[in-house]
Assembly symmetry: C2
Homo-oligomer: 213 residues x 2
């Protein structure tokens, strides 16, 4: 990974906002999109199984097909790329590959050997609802880090939940173990894009040591 | 919000890792935990409904009760705080409050008035499964930003999916519209904590314009 530095974390979290109007003349190279995805996937996941899968749509013809699937949200064609984020409910099948890499990275082999077999069995016998929940939560984790990593590189993003899951699955022949989590467009904001938004006061959504009813 | 600056984004994403061994002598003030949560909740959410709710456990007696619920993961008692992250499947009920705040922040009143009624109707009639998915995905978004904001302040975290949902719901009297998303412990790593991990090569989890089968 390129060892980038020198971008203020607090500027990134304050300045990131969802952008729906994009400059259609801005492209992002495949190499930079890969770097961004590498940064995003430093996010944690359940048992480090990394159940996220990406289909990056940059081809204008594919963008045009994605447009009606995404309820005609224009960012799908105007942004440099739209990432289809999928959650893999069978991510445990790559556990050996992942933990071999972790051992290469310095994890003690005994730790891997003790952990991986029972972890795989846990996921293999997990209820479909729980497997789905894990894939959605971990999808949220990687999506957030992706949007921040994009902002750190000067790009804008918007996460989209409003799309036809059925049509997306059909068009991209998505197998049943991969579930659509969200679409994320990425590019550079057109002039005048972005609406002011606000957040609930933290006191109204937080309680201490017990749940305020 | 305190206007903090001067923390390198790339250091934060590279140095954050899940930490399970904490220095039990480290406390974090309620005020700093609130600042952290404010930073976390700058995350985006579906229609900006912010369906995240937090119960922050800092009281040693409550930590001790949380320990068996969290499968005896010791970080629950050793970390300065453990945040119970809940997803609100009825977050649309606060849409008026949220969008009033957005108008105060500069959103045109006409935009609010045109959008909010149909948005609320959309969420009110949403299937329970979809409402649950939204709360889980948005929970993932805010959890990631929380863990990064903590790292930016020099704290370590660990997200936990391994806990008894049933016992948590019972102990904290969590109503049905709030669903447990995850637990997040926060504090400072004890010496020697943290295992090397690795990520799958981006080429193996990404495809371009079509899904590689």
């Amino acid at each position: 990974m390129t060892q980038k530095t020198g971008v203020d974390f607090y500027s990134v979290i304050r300045e990131r906002q969802s952008i729906r109007g994009y400059d259609p003349s801005v492209a992002i190279t495949e190499e930079e999109l890969k770097e961004l995805l590498r940064e995003a996937t430093l996010a944690p996941s359940s048992s480090n199984l990394q159940p996220w899968r990406f289909v990056v749509v940059t081809d204008p013809a594919v963008k045009a097909e994605l447009l009606p699937i995404a309820n005609n949200q224009k960012q799908v064609v105007d942004a440099a790329a739209t990432i289809i984020l999928l959650g893999d409910t069978e991510a445990y099948k790559r556990a050996d590959e992942i933990y071999d890499l972790s051992v290469e990275a310095g994890m003690p082999k005994e730790a891997r050997d003790a952990y991986v077999p029972r972890m795989k069995e846990y996921y293999r016998t997990m209820s479909p609802e729980t497997a789905r929940s894990v894939a959605l939560i971990d999808g949220g984790l990687v999506a957030m880090q992706l949007m921040l990593a994009a902002k750190a590189r000067g790009y804008d993003t918007v996460p989209m939940g409003g799309f036809s899951h059925e049509k997306l699955i059909e068009r991209f022949q998505i197998p049943a173990h991969l579930i659509p989590v969200m679409l994320i467009s990425i590019g550079k904001a057109a002039a005048g894009s972005g609406n002011p938004t606000a957040r609930l006061p933290i006191e109204e959504i937080t309680s201490w040591n017990k749940l305020e009813q």
